[in-house]
């Protein structure tokens, strides 16, 4: 019937119940990362800054998705769709950015040689 044979608990449900303690650890990590990102914004690292900020934001998002949103304990199918959604986001960003970073080649055809 269903695609997945996820581990069923005693009640016959697929639900893995995450403990409040685990949530507490995640929120602590999130706070740490938040202060880290604020701190890093005050340090001038030139072109590195945006990448650090993005990396921190991505790790926060990953924590929220995996633990708060239970994806770590979900069925493989759910995990695929979550990953797919974010992957499509990268397609959108990637293909658009290709245009804007290579614009100079249009106005300046010498760049081709």
């Amino acid at each position: 019937m269903s695609d997945t044979t996820a581990t069923h608990d005693d009640n016959g449900h697929d639900h893995h119940i995450v403990s409040v303690k685990a949530y507490g650890m995640v929120i602590s990590a999130l706070f740490f990362l938040m202060f880290l990102t604020v701190f890093m914004a005050f340090v001038d690292l030139g072109s590195l800054n945006p990448f650090i900020a993005l990396a921190i934001a991505v790790s926060k998002a990953v924590l929220i998705v995996l633990i708060f949103m239970n994806v770590w304990f979900s069925t493989r199918l759910t995990q695929i769709f979550v990953a797919g959604g974010f992957f499509w986001l990268l397609i959108l960003f990637g293909m658009i950015i290709i245009d804007f970073v290579s614009r100079a080649m249009v106005t300046n055809p010498q760049a081709w040689e």
Partner: protein
């Protein structure tokens, strides 16, 4: 020949190459079309219900066949891609020394400006056998500059320059269309491109004296009118960089980056002077955004370029 029935007249150096590409692709498409339709018709008739065709061992899968008709079209597609892209790159490779014409699109007309300052509306005169580079912008919405006989087309955008080049091969008068929908009179935003023999072109250039009457070119006049000369003449009091001879050269900015001084940079520096300051200069220049329109901008750019010429000849 069939060319005037199936394709518009072919009147530029790139047109025969594009036509060859189009006919090869059309031929290939036609081949596949007729091959598949013939197969469909043959099978439909042979295996119609009630026919006594042999229906034994009709296996519904054949991986070898599948792979064949996956891989072969893929190879063909890649070959077509390479050829098509090679021709497209010729559209983008503007020959050295092409003579420049500035184009402004505006609802619903084309305004064209020759280097001499001569201006035209909805008609363009060019000499035969000379590569022409068009630098184009729009004062309002998107337009697209299309001359079917030259097989050239390029969108014209507000706030930015796009370029296009062609070399006409045949004297005559050809259609000029706007092909990017631009509002009410989109279909009337049309004109003509007249290709003249070199001598005729010279005569045409000199025929109209309304523009050349002043001993200043229009760009020179604007340059004087807006007082550019007070800061950019290179004298001791100059608060801005000297412009003569700078076009096309490299310059270092305050930020340490280097840039090439081109049309786009001059445009930006007039409309938004503080964006990219040349190293060593203070942000003093006023913003000319609302004082100079796109057409006048072209005249100024043309003048700044010509300043290089006088410098070099002296």
């Amino acid at each position: 020949m069939f060319e005037n029935y199936l394709m518009p007249e072919s009147a530029s150096t790139i047109a025969p190459r594009v036509d060859a590409l189009i006919w090869v692709l059309t031929g290939m498409s036609a081949f596949f079309f007729f091959a598949v339709v013939a197969a469909l018709a043959f099978l439909a008739i042979k295996y119609r219900k009630g026919s006594d065709a042999n229906r034994d061992l009709a296996h519904p899968d054949n991986d070898a066949l599948e792979i064949t008709w996956t891989v072969l079209p893929t190879i063909l597609a890649v070959v077509m891609f390479v050829v098509s892209t090679a021709i497209f790159l010729q559209y983008r490779q503007i020959p050295e020394g092409a003579s420049e014409i500035y184009v402004t699109g505006k609802q619903w007309m084309w305004k064209l400006q020759h280097p001499s300052g001569k201006r035209e509306i909805n008609s363009l005169h060019v000499p035969v056998g000379v590569p022409i580079k068009l630098t184009m912008t729009s004062e309002d919405v998107l337009h697209s500059f299309f001359v079917p006989a030259f097989r050239v087309k390029q969108d014209v955008l507000p706030g930015r320059y796009t370029t296009l080049w062609f070399e006409a091969t045949k004297p005559g008068t050809y259609h000029l269309f706007c092909t990017e929908y631009c509002g009410t009179d989109h279909s009337r935003m049309i004109g003509s491109v007249t290709v003249l023999e070199q001598a005729d072109y010279q005569r045409w250039l000199e025929s109209d004296d309304s523009v050349m009457a002043s001993n200043l070119t229009p760009g020179e006049a604007l340059y004087a009118k807006h007082g550019c000369v007070t800061c950019h003449d290179g004298g001791d009091a100059a608060r801005g960089p000297m412009l003569a001879g700078k076009y096309g050269t490299e310059e270092t900015l305050n930020s340490g980056e280097t840039i090439i001084i081109d049309d786009e940079y001059i445009r930006e520096s007039i409309y938004n002077p503080q964006a990219k300051l040349v190293a060593g200069y203070a942000p003093l220049m006023p913003v000319f955004k609302n004082l100079i329109n796109e057409e006048e901008l072209f005249l100024l750019i043309e003048h700044i370029k010509s300043m290089e010429d006088t410098e070099a000849s002296n």
